[in-house]
């Protein structure tokens, strides 16, 4: 009886504490939607700058996620399966974009792609200016979000029993076939989860993106621009529409992931 009482008390306490953090997460979002004014909201829906920025943000983030996966998944697999010198250092480097301020990441990237840099001068020689381009936005998004994909996929690959890969090898499969036909399908859930996380993190990025490309505007930059130039009433509808669009996408992706 004493155990049950103490369990119930603990359970009640945990529910109260957990409920508080849930309210903390939900309240600002609900407040945002409840404080919308109809005329401003409908005008924003028809604002082509807003719709173009949302389209641009989603498209660049999706493309960057797909392209980065070609490089990130092999690295995640090697990290899951192989032991090698400086592996800990490499894992720390992968986590670096998560812990450094994203504005600092933007400054670092700006130096990497500016016209004085090797990459920037190469692009410049074929008539491309990376700074202020969609490519720069994509690089900033990838820089801050790819660790989520690598880490999630690495955990997924590590959870695939080595025995299954060995079995496939003894049945004639090459290492590449083992990866594509056994490891990748079995780690699918973690890989998709990583892709979704990377996509989400990329499209919501502001700090690094605003430094490498203020224009063309992604939606997070547009929200900041409206807030900075016109105030909260103009930024709020853009923020609400962007949150609504992302929520719909993530509900859809989550349903797909569960299937």
């Amino acid at each position: 009886m004493r155990f049950n009482n103490s369990f119930n008390l603990t359970y009640i306490l945990f529910t109260l504490l957990g409920g508080t953090i849930l309210i903390f997460l939900i309240a600002p979002l609900l407040g945002l939607f409840f404080s919308l004014k109809a005329p401003g909201f409908f005008a924003t829906i028809h604002d082509s700058d807003v719709s173009n920025s949302i389209y641009r943000t989603l498209l660049i983030s999706a493309l960057v996620t797909l392209v980065a996966s070609l490089f990130a998944l092999p690295l995640a697999y090697i990290l899951a399966r192989k032991k090698f010198p400086l592996k800990g250092l490499i894992e720390a480097i992968i986590d670096l974009p998560i812990v450094i301020p994203h504005s600092a990441a933007g400054i670092a990237l700006l130096g990497f792609i500016s016209r004085d840099s090797l990459l920037g001068s190469l692009a410049s020689s074929v008539g491309l200016n990376l700074v202020g381009s969609s490519a720069a936005i994509g690089m900033a998004m990838a820089f801050v979000s790819v660790p989520f994909l690598i880490n999630s996929a690495r955990d997924g690959f590590a959870a695939v029993p080595v025995r299954l890969e060995q079995a496939a090898e003894t049945l004639g499969a090459s290492r590449y076939q083992v990866f594509t036909q056994i490891s990748l399908p079995l780690a699918k859930r973690s890989v998709i989860s990583g892709l979704v996380l990377m996509f989400a993190r990329g499209m919501s990025e502001f700090g690094a993106v605003v430094i490498v490309a203020y224009h063309p505007m992604t939606t997070p930059v547009l929200i900041f621009d409206r807030f900075n130039s016109y105030g909260l009433d103009y930024a709020r509808p853009v923020a609400a529409i962007f949150i609504a669009v992302t929520l719909i996408i993530f509900i859809f992706l989550r349903i797909y992931q569960k299937r």
């Binding site: 060995q166 049945l171 079995l186």
Partner: protein, 213 residues
């Protein structure tokens, strides 16, 4: 000789296996037994190519396969936990090595059907492997291991995970395989379970052959 092991040596940490030498004729049934830590699993993995030998030679069907990667070795391996691919159906598990070999669809279907009949698993072909019983899983894993007709089939503790009744059925299946002239190595910690099956027996102790008969 189907299998010749010549002065095979391997070491891991402080454990040394061998030098070991023995032979097995085509269609032979070799039992390798010994207590835990005697080197049975290491020897099995060396023959299957999952580990590289430090010294010695592994000759299968007159070809030196000592350093051949596992995918190119004519050795089938039945893992103790069967290692069935959980994302594939029974049919797709058995067809896996045939698809790797890029066999034609008809050939694959015919071979899978023949194996399903041999192992009495015709009704399970489209089942998820996660829904199978221990005995069924073993028969599917055996069918998969011999689907591409390996020269040597290694069985890792094939009877230890089964209860008494299923063990008898499994012994009958292994007898059937032996009668089909499949060369078999049966690795076990329990010498009694290979009575009536093995044509040759090796007992390992601390990495060496304690007896060969």
């Amino acid at each position: 000789m189907m299998l010749q092991i010549e002065s095979l040596e391997y070491s891991v940490g402080e454990f040394n296996l061998g030098p070991l030498s023995f032979e097995l004729e085509k269609g032979g049934y070799l039992a390798i037994s010994g207590p835990s830590g005697s080197g049975k699993s290491l020897l099995m993995e060396l023959i299957a190519g999952l580990r590289k030998a430090k010294h010695g030679r592994i000759i299968i069907d007159s070809v030196n396969h000592t350093f051949t990667p596992p995918r190119e070795r004519p050795v089938g391996l039945l893992f103790q936990d069967y290692a069935l691919f959980p994302h594939l159906s029974v049919y797709d598990n058995i067809a896996f090595p045939l698809r790797i070999l890029k066999k034609e669809h008809r050939q694959i279907e015919s071979r899978v059907n023949d194996l399903a009949e041999f192992f009495s698993i015709e009704t399970l072909k489209h089942r998820d492997v996660g829904t199978l019983s221990g005995g069924e899983r073993q028969r599917v894993a055996l069918a998969r291991a011999i689907a591409y007709e390996p020269s040597v089939l290694i069985l890792d503790e094939p009877l230890s995970a089964l209860d008494e009744e299923l063990r008898e059925d499994a012994r009958e299946t292994l007898k059937g395989l032996k009668d089909s002239r499949q060369t078999i190595i049966h690795v076990t910690h329990n010498r009694n379970e290979v009575e009536g099956l093995a044509s040759k027996s090796i007992v390992l102790s601390q990495g060496f052959i304690k007896s060969l008969f």
